[in-house]
Symmetry: C2
Subunit: 228 residues, 2 copies
């Protein structure tokens, strides 16, 4: 647990303003709040700490929605990037929300209670999870689409765009703290092949992923790979 002044929530709130119509008034209220955040180490299972339904707002760090399969494999359904809202899955359906890095988050329930009559916040949070639902369709067509490089490119574009909205992309460069195995489990590939595909994309000058950082991200070029 860790106290914070409302300022740390501001970047995430600004993203909600841009993507989900959060009002400036509501941002003000959030900024005024003092609330304790929860902190999870990499690999930990996040929530559900209370009875569903409740929403978790990831202020910093990466997480993923995943299921453990037989044969020691794992299916990653979606990634959660810093600043996004996610609904931790109800236990019992075999899905968990798992931290991929150190994660700092806050329970949206608490924010709603503390901001009083700010219905606007609830609406924005719901829109945010609706967007997550739409992304599952995208992920479905990614998995069924045949070529590995095309899947990779499509996922990279999605993550880039989501990070961009959060203000975490600067001139085609951004942090991407995922292991090849994480990509593999999300895309239904082997980690070895993720390496090879990434090599192909690098050779074509479409991006450079090194030490958990992407640079030289060529969005238009990657979109051509998706379509091919």
């Amino acid at each position: 647990m860790l106290a914070f002044n409302g300022a740390s929530i501001e970047a995430a709130a600004q993203a909600l303003v841009r993507t989900c119509d959060l009002s400036a008034d509501c941002v003000e209220r959030l900024r005024a709040l003092e609330i304790a955040t929860e902190r999870y180490p990499a690999g930990a299972v996040i929530g559900p700490t209370e009875e569903p339904p409740h929403l978790t707002w990831i202020l910093d760090g990466w997480a993923c929605e995943a299921r453990d399969l037989t044969h020691g494999r794992r299916q990653i359904f979606s990634f959660v990037v810093p600043g996004e809202v996610v609904r931790p899955p109800d236990a019992g359906w075999g899905r968990t929300l798992r931290a991929l890095t150190v994660v700092e988050c806050v329970q949206a329930n608490e924010l709603l209670a503390r901001t009083g009559a700010c219905d606007d916040l609830l609406a924005a949070l719901m829109r945010s999870t609706a967007l997550a639902g739409a992304r599952r369709y995208e992920h479905l067509s990614r998995l069924a689409g045949r070529h590995a490089a095309s899947r990779m490119a499509s996922l990279l574009i999605e993550l880039h765009d989501r990070l961009d909205v959060m203000g975490l992309v600067e001139g085609g460069a951004f942090a991407l703290p995922l292991r090849h195995e994480d990509f593999a489990d999300a895309l239904g590939l082997s980690a070895a092949h993720v390496t090879r595909c990434m090599g192909v994309l690098r050779e074509r000058g479409l991006l450079n992923l090194q030490f958990k950082r992407v640079s030289g991200f060529d969005r238009a070029g990657l979109e051509k790979v998706c379509a091919s």
Copy 2:
């Protein structure tokens, strides 16, 4: 368009009772209704006939939620079996609800208006679409799971169970009016390979699919294939 007495809706309503806690009282109200159904030929796009959000109740026939991809391919996100409720996708996201056979359906909005204060119906409909959301996760892990026979078995089990709830399975036999190409587009396989997999399953005595009908469905045996 086609008039019907509330009786035709009854089988579907009974399924909602079993799966989504629809009340007996509400079934009574539905039975008393007289309402016109819509009819679509195979291949037609179903809705949206009005502005979203609205729900469509498929009383008879099969449909699928799909997207047309480049290169003349198609991704099927989900199938809709007779008696189920579905939310036709908002146009603009590139998804359509398409009839696979002749489909007879009714707009849930109209039912809600006509049944008056039956909040119970709305709750059951929402639960039904929530189940559909959960199934998308299952479909995701199907697609990423490696073996084609395993994907097929998993999908067949899901369809069997959904038809069973609707009362459409009799002693391991049921109608399954899908083409191999439909399976292929749902599972990310080629139609030719669907044929081969189905042959393997038949040889193992797990099911017999012929003339759009399944017989000798061995649920336990197919589950073993899923796990392998």
